[in-house]
């Protein structure tokens, strides 16, 4: 620790702080702006060309941006030091949901704070990788079995609490965000292989004892959507139809019949990629993927350049989780994965997800704007 500080002080001597005064990473900022603009553009068409959703979404984004810039001002050490507190509060909030949660659409995910509704599982998306990063950054690498166990406990408790709400999508994201930290921290290959086969073995158990009927239904629907054309299969049939009918270059902005005529459900939230695919075709999909990959790639560069193990793990986890958002969403809408409620990051309408994502990017900015040790990498 001391040595670490010492090296850092040595490295920063002479001041490489020009760009870091405001702790803003302009490259990251610009990519995010481009993504947000793209998102608003698609959202306008996806929400039946109403400015209502676009305005609200823009407000969320503005809030998110502001939040990001504020978060970026905190030194990374701050988050490392208070990770435990942060994680503990998230856990408490999740437990509170069990008792005082507000129900909506058959799920209890929200806490009513009087002035606003608050979704503690969003907090967990940041708190879990942060806690695991903090935990593992103080351990030897590759993590020993007991530390792996410790990390899994940190991940598992909130993940299970979230599954109970039920919110499979968020739970998966929380779990993966934590697991990525383990992976990036050098989790031994045998554990990885073990985890792979372990999950294969656990699948039947999950099916029998953990998964709820509606969740099983979603898996069955994925396999044969035509069985229940107008019920469970409807969403996926309509979304694949929207995507497929878009072709190479799409039907044109606001010209997608599937979305504009309301055949496509949840067109402005979880299924928004189908609108983009229908109206802008494969070219639109590739363009969006390119922006996402640029973003993820750039975030990974930030992670590699990070000054501490905690920062590295945290930054890496945020980047990979962001990718998983995109991957899961695009897969479920196109019928590759069962429908779990994962939005398309920064494009799907929805305030909580946006604010959480920007929180993560705020931490990335903080990491990226930290003074660099010269020649520290390689």
């Amino acid at each position: 620790m001391y040595k670490y500080d010492f090296v850092r002080q040595l490295d920063t001597k002479g001041g490489d702080r020009r760009q870091n005064v405001l702790h803003i990473d302009f490259t990251l900022l610009i990519i995010l702006l481009v993504l947000c603009m793209t998102g608003l553009f698609v959202l306008y068409s996806a929400s039946e060309q109403s400015m209502y959703y676009v305005k609200r979404q823009a407000t969320f984004m503005l809030t998110g941006f502001t939040g990001m810039l504020i978060v970026a001002q905190f030194p990374v050490r701050f988050w490392e030091r208070f990770a435990g507190l942060f994680y503990g509060s998230a856990l408490l909030a999740l437990i509170a949901v069990l008792f005082f949660g507000v129900e909506a659409k058959g799920a209890t995910r929200w806490l009513n704070l009087g002035f606003a509704r608050f979704q503690p599982s969003e907090l967990a998306k940041i708190a879990v990788p942060m806690m695991v990063s903090a935990y593992l950054s103080r351990r030897l690498i590759p993590p020993k079995l007991k530390h792996v166990g410790g990390a899994l406990l940190i991940i598992g408790i909130p993940a299970l609490l979230i599954i109970r709400q039920p919110d499979l999508g968020t739970s998966i994201l929380v779990f993966t965000s934590g697991f990525f930290v383990l992976f990036l921290a050098g989790l031994r290959k045998r554990y990885l292989v073990g985890a792979f086969f372990g999950s294969l073995a656990a699948a039947p158990l999950l099916w029998l004892y953990v998964m709820r009927d509606y969740q099983k239904q979603r898996v069955l629907t994925l396999l044969s959507p035509e069985d229940d054309k107008f019920g469970a299969g409807w969403n996926i049939i309509q979304s694949t139809t929207a995507i497929g009918s878009g072709g190479l270059s799409g039907k044109g902005w606001t010209e997608g019949t599937q979305s504009q005529l309301n055949f496509l459900p949840e067109s402005h939230t979880d299924f928004i990629i189908a609108v983009l695919a229908e109206e802008f075709g494969l070219l639109g999909v590739i363009s969006l993927c390119t922006i996402y990959l640029l973003l993820v790639g750039y975030c990974m560069i930030i992670a590699i350049g990070a000054q501490s193990q905690f920062a590295r793990l945290m930054a890496g986890s945020i980047s990979l989780t962001f990718f998983i958002y995109m991957f899961v969403n695009m897969s479920m809408v196109s019928g590759l994965l069962p429908v779990v409620g994962v939005p398309l990051p920064l494009v799907s309408y929805g305030g909580s997800a946006i604010v959480t994502l920007f929180f993560g990017f705020g931490i990335l900015m903080a990491i990226s704007s930290e003074p660099k040790r010269i020649g520290s990498w390689r």
Binding site: R138, L184, F230, I243, G244, A277, I304, F327
Partner: protein
């Protein structure tokens, strides 16, 4: 913790991390490729399939029902109209839970079990995207409720369609008939293509007879709909061709007079244009409002009509079969003259009774108690005073074969060929008929009964009218027709294949005798002669409902009214240039002279006083034109 930290190696940490990031990049690129491959597969390889699916989703071919042809009377008075009515439909494909939706609608509008049962039956045959009607004839209030709640009622739709309306209500029900919803039996016999988009079919009367002409040709529309089934726009359309407009010979005003004259009675009247055979009036009472049937009559209302002792649903004019009684006397007299059974000078002695050789029981005349008509009763007197004995005597002479064969020429015993469905033949008995239907030989006694229009003989009021028209026109065998013109194109009168070629002097004789029935002071119809400005030829008739024993006297006060004699009358006028002929019956009206004849007078009076104004109004070109475009409503 401190110990572990102490030996942690930042270089190694960074190296391991970088390796893992590299590994992640590969995995990321791999996963991205999977996604892009999937999108490529959907959007490029299977693009056309999905374009088809997407179009199937939104583009539907919708049938546009043609507008049913209108029906006008001879003066252009509208008899059958089309008016918009609103229907609540469910689009099964769009309504995810139909039962739930119906329950929801029930709480808003209250939907009857019958409606639900019908809906479910129809939903089974429906194609999913096609709207299935749940409730018909929405009131304005109901439509408002639906409009307010439409966001909750995904899969419902309110459609407007033109519905048959009969503005004259009960005026012409039995003749015009009505349309109703196509039932299970009918659906098997119709061409489904022609009836796509149409729920209605002519059930009875003209509406049924001219169904094909009235229906029109179905049109199609390619429409784009949203997921709720709401039509967003019409992509292309082929207009339906509306049904033909019919003008019928009926004179509404005359019809009204006749209906009014028969009010309160069970009876029927048919008036024919002597020259063309056009039906000027055709009444069956009691009548009812046909509009009840177009939108689905309630069981209670239907039972009321069905079980009424007056049998309003029964079309007496076309299907009521009654003994013609004395109304056939001029015809039988005419046949006797023409076929030299007797001549104009022939007369008999009428003691009031007629004895036939070998039979003890005499046939009574109606005035047997007064000693009959006495000496020197010739055909004219027999017609004017309605002497039965004369016809018993001459009937036997003429024989069943001649009477049967010749009467057929005047339209008795067979369908007249009127353009209405369900006409009854009546009975003009013959030896063959009795063999076939009674398994007995024909006896002279049967001829005697028949010679005064009793016994086996039965006629419909329509046949009586045809008979008097053919007598009036001196054998021009007009066929009765309702249709006057179709889409403005006049229909030529039709004549029966076998002409009636009788001598003029016999026509004159019979016409004069029938004029004297009304105009001479001994005539049975003299009661209606007062104030006549034209010559009215007629013949009264009374048909027994029950047989009275020869010793008994018919006394209506001792008999239930529904067993009283039927009163009949046949007539034509003006006698010197006949224009209108009619036949009518008043069930249990007792005497043709007292009950039936005055009704005939009213009708003929009305017709002749208006008839010369006719040509001025006879203009079918001012038909109302309806747009075939269906009215859309959400």
């Amino acid at each position: 913790m401190m110990r572990e930290n102490a030996i942690s190696d930042p270089q190694q940490e960074q190296r391991v991390f970088s390796m893992r990031v590299m590994l992640s990049v590969f995995i990321l690129l791999g996963l991205t490729s999977i996604i892009l491959f999937r999108y490529f597969d959907l959007q490029i390889n299977r693009h056309l399939d999905y374009v088809t699916n997407s179009n199937k989703n939104r583009i539907h071919i919708r049938s546009v029902a043609p507008t049913r042809g209108l029906i006008f009377d001879r003066h252009g008075q509208l008899l059958a109209d089309n008016r918009p009515a609103f229907t609540l439909n469910i689009i099964p494909e769009r309504a995810k839970h139909t039962d739930q939706l119906i329950a929801q609608l029930d709480s808003l509008l209250s939907i009857s079990d019958k409606d639900i049962a019908r809906f479910e039956k129809r939903a089974k045959r429906s194609k999913g995207f096609a709207p299935v009607p749940l409730k018909y004839n929405l009131t304005e209030q109901e439509r408002a409720i639906l409009a307010v709640n439409s966001h909750l009622l995904t899969g419902t739709e309110v459609s407007a369609q033109l519905m048959r309306f009969y503005p004259q209500r009960e005026l012409l029900t039995h003749t015009l008939g009505y349309v109703g919803r196509i039932n299970d039996r009918e659906i098997k016999n119709i061409d489904p293509e022609s009836y796509r988009g149409t729920d209605f079919i002519g059930k009875i009367g003209l509406e049924k007879y001219y169904e094909e002409a009235l229906l029109g040709k179905v049109g199609t529309e390619q429409v784009e709909t949203d997921a709720r089934g709401r039509v967003m726009r019409i992509i292309s359309k082929k207009d339906p061709i509306s049904g033909s407009h019919l003008t019928i010979h009926i004179d509404s005003q005359l019809q009204g007079v006749a209906l009014d004259a028969l009010k309160g009675e069970r009876g029927a009247l048919v008036a024919i244009d002597v020259k063309t055979g056009g039906i000027l009036s055709m009444v069956s009472t009691p009548s009812y409002d046909p509009n009840l049937f177009t939108s689905g009559i309630s069981q209670k209302q239907y039972d009321g009509l069905l079980n009424s002792p007056d049998r309003p649903l029964f079309n007496r004019a076309l299907r009521g079969q009654y003994p013609p009684g004395s109304t056939v006397k001029p015809l039988f007299g005419l046949i006797g003259l023409q076929h030299k059974i007797f001549d104009i000078d022939y007369s008999i002695y009428d003691p009031g009774y007629f004895f036939m050789e070998g039979i003890k029981r005499p046939w009574r005349d109606h005035n047997a108690d007064q000693g009959g008509h006495g000496h020197g009763v010739d055909l004219a007197e027999a017609i004017i005073e309605s002497c039965d004995v004369f016809f018993y005597t001459t009937g036997i002479k003429a024989g069943i074969d001649l009477l049967s064969e010749q009467s057929a020429l005047f339209g008795l015993g067979d369908i007249t060929g009127i353009d209405l469905p369900g006409e009854k033949r009546g009975i003009m008995p013959s030896r063959e008929w009795k063999k076939a239907n009674r398994q007995q030989n024909w006896f002279d006694g049967d001829t005697i009964n028949m010679s005064i229009g009793q016994g086996f003989m039965l006629t419909t009021p329509l046949q009586l009218a045809v008979m008097s028209a053919r007598i009036a026109s001196r054998g021009k065998a007009v066929v009765p027709k309702l249709l006057k013109s179709i889409d403005g194109e006049e229909i030529a009168p039709e004549f029966a294949p076998n002409p009636i070629e009788y001598d003029d002097k016999y026509w004159d004789y019979i016409h004069q005798s029938m004029v004297d029935v009304v105009h001479s002071n001994k005539g049975t119809g003299r009661g209606i002669s007062k104030g006549l400005s034209y010559k009215l030829a007629g013949k009264t008739g009374t048909a027994q409902v029950i047989s009275i024993h020869e010793k008994e006297k018919y006394d209506s006060s001792k008999i239930d009214k529904n067993k009283w004699d039927h009163a009949l009358f046949v007539a034509f006028a003006p006698a010197d240039n006949p224009q209108i002929a009619l036949g009518l019956i008043v069930e249990n009206g007792e005497h043709g002279s007292r009950t039936a004849a005055p009704i005939a007078r009213k009708v003929i009076d009305s017709y002749l006083s208006n008839s010369y104004q006719e040509s001025r109004h006879n203009d079918a070109s001012k038909l109302t034109q309806y747009s075939p475009t269906p009215i859309e409503d959400d």
